[in-house]
């Protein structure tokens, strides 16, 4: 239902009324923004020394390399591992053997139900909080387990969304189950699932910020160091949030483009996300709910 169905094409009186609404609402939004900027200005948040750090090339390099790059690396490693984990357990859940199916189901349900932050703390202590790299791997492993179990559901939904006849035809020409899976169902399913997998990257990326709780490297750590040194919490949070938002918007745009490219106008991709209870409604686990 397009939005215009919800209200009539306005007549002259309504047009006049809408004009009043527009002016009032515009003034309210603009007024709020100006008030916020003015308050921040009065509180001295726009002084040069609070923003200096973001205008100095050497610091910018630290923010982008130690911060953004590390964060992207953590998210990237986690998502690659999560795809493998999800593939393994997604296929496991579809197995004909009960002894494979049930454990896979249990693993997926377990990691989907608990917060990423809980997992992060656990893995962090498990590796040993004083071991170097423990917090880095704490973040990566926790994100792998959570996103992997979400992706397992996406894989299953993807395979189930392939028309039944495809599998039946493959069996009819004498293929075995493994061949049907690997040669016929999976290649088609992957195409349907790609946009959902990329949406999951957004969740993983957002959840890396939780690493703050276990002292992980990346943007949040760099930002902590910056505002401790320059006493400029608000500018720092503004810059860090912008970096996250920009990367996420790029990923979302890429997923949308891919969906159009691979699936055309068909709505298949959306069904999968709904089936997995993940994808675009997923806020991440810690998240995610992230978070």
């Amino acid at each position: 239902m397009s939005t215009s169905v919800l209200f009539d094409a306005p007549g002259p009186k309504t047009v006049a009324r809408h004009r009043i609404y527009t002016v009032v609402a515009g003034a309210a939004v603009l007024g709020f923004l100006l008030w916020a900027l003015w308050r921040l200005y009065v509180e001295g948040q726009f002084t040069y020394d609070k923003w200096e750090v973001f205008l100095t090339p050497r610091y910018l390099e630290v923010i982008l390399v130690d911060g953004l790059l590390q964060t992207l690396q953590m998210a990237g490693t986690a998502i690659v591992a999560a795809v493998l984990f999800g593939f393994l357990f997604g296929v496991g859940k579809m197995s004909d053997h009960a002894w494979v199916r049930w454990p896979s189901w249990a693993v997926v349900e377990f990691f989907r139900a608990i917060p990423v932050l809980l997992l992060m703390v656990f893995v962090w202590f498990l590796i040993g909080i004083n071991t170097s790299g423990a917090s880095y791997w704490g973040v990566v492993i926790a994100l792998m387990l959570y996103n992997g179990s979400v992706l397992a559901e996406v894989f299953r939904a993807g395979v189930n969304s392939i028309p039944k006849g495809q599998g039946e035809a493959a069996y009819a020409v004498g293929m075995r189950k493994t061949q049907v899976m690997n040669l016929v169902l999976m290649p088609q399913a992957v195409k349907v699932m790609l946009p959902a997998i990329i949406s999951q990257c957004v969740v993983a990326l957002k959840d890396t910020a939780l690493g703050q709780y276990i002292l992980a490297p990346g943007l949040t750590k760099v930002s902590n160091q910056i505002f401790l040194e320059f006493d400029n919490r608000i500018p720092t949070i503004f810059v860090v949030a912008s970096l996250y938002i920009v990367v996420n918007l790029i990923l979302t745009a890429f997923a949308t483009w891919l969906q159009k490219r691979l699936l055309g106008g068909k709505k298949k991709g959306v069904d999968i996300e709904a089936a997995a209870g993940g994808g675009r409604y997923d806020m991440g686990g810690g998240g995610g709910a992230a978070v």
Binding site: M1, T3, V5, L6, F7, H18, Y21, T22, A25, V29, W35, A36, R39, L40, E43, Q45, F110, A113, I114, P115, V116, L117, L118, V121, F122, F125, L126, V202, L205, K206, D207, T208, A209, L210, Q212, Y213, R233, I234, I237, F238, V240, A241, Y244, I245, L249, T252, A274, G277, G278, Y281, D282, M283, G284, G285, G286, G287, G288, A289, A290, V291
Partner: protein
């Protein structure tokens, strides 16, 4: 298991805070999300784009950053938003004392979750049959009437599954409040683990079970509702 069982009250109190956070910000996010979706599909273009911008920006920000932004920016804008007065009011129910950190966490969780509620509801609005809105308009209902009497009730029913997954994600998201000093379950788990590192696995399992129970009960209830409210 001793670490948890010896002070089982503390364990229950920690999950009590998790539940309070979930219940209060869950209800508030449903209200704010409904309001946002009305703005997003409404006739006033300025409000449409303002709501769309808000939803896009907040959805793409990590929750930790939403927390931090609210916690540090809001009191600078308006000192009442540091919720210090909350402590002076000394609000408590039974053993639960609600302090300024709790209030901040509720607001941050609400601001974040409401954007996801808005998106879930918007897909619900889109799934309502066109004829329903056309009929409502034909009998002369204005936009407000079309939304409150005809479209939103159906949209709520249709978007119950995604709304339920948003609320389940909220349960897990309450854990982020630990980073900002609310003594809920993950906070308790971390301090217990620090005190009893040898019982790491037992403590983890105990807290994981707590979350699993809350999540399963919520999804059971939402399944019941879904079956009762299924749109024919």
């Amino acid at each position: 298991m001793d670490a948890v069982l010896n002070d089982f009250d503390a364990y229950l109190r920690a999950f009590g805070f998790t539940l309070w956070l979930f219940l209060i910000s869950g209800v508030l996010s449903l209200i704010l999300g409904t309001f946002l979706v009305a703005l997003r599909v409404g006739p006033v273009a300025v409000l449409r784009s303002a709501a769309a911008t808000y939803v896009t920006v907040v959805r793409n920000t990590p929750l930790v950053i939403v927390f931090a932004t609210f916690q540090f920016t809001a009191p600078t804008l308006w000192s009442a938003l540091n919720f210090r007065w909350f402590d002076r009011l000394d609000i408590s129910i039974g053993q639960f004392q609600f302090n300024q950190f709790f209030a901040t966490a509720v607001i941050a969780l609400t601001l974040y979750t409401s954007t996801f509620v808005c998106e879930a509801l918007r897909s619900g609005v889109n799934s309502v049959d066109i004829g329903q809105a056309e009929a409502a308009r034909a009998i002369g209902l204005p936009f407000g009437g079309v939304m409150t009497n005809v479209v939103l009730p159906q949209a709520f029913r249709a978007s119950l599954p995604p709304l339920a997954s948003v609320q389940i994600a909220l349960i897990k998201n309450t854990s982020v409040a630990a980073v900002f000093g609310v003594a809920e379950a993950v906070y308790q788990m971390r301090s217990l683990t620090r005190d009893f590192p040898s019982q790491l696995n037992e403590i983890f399992i105990a807290f994981a079970i707590g979350y699993i129970i809350i999540v399963e009960v919520t999804s059971f209830l939402s399944n019941r509702l879904e079956r009762r409210w299924r749109v024919a």
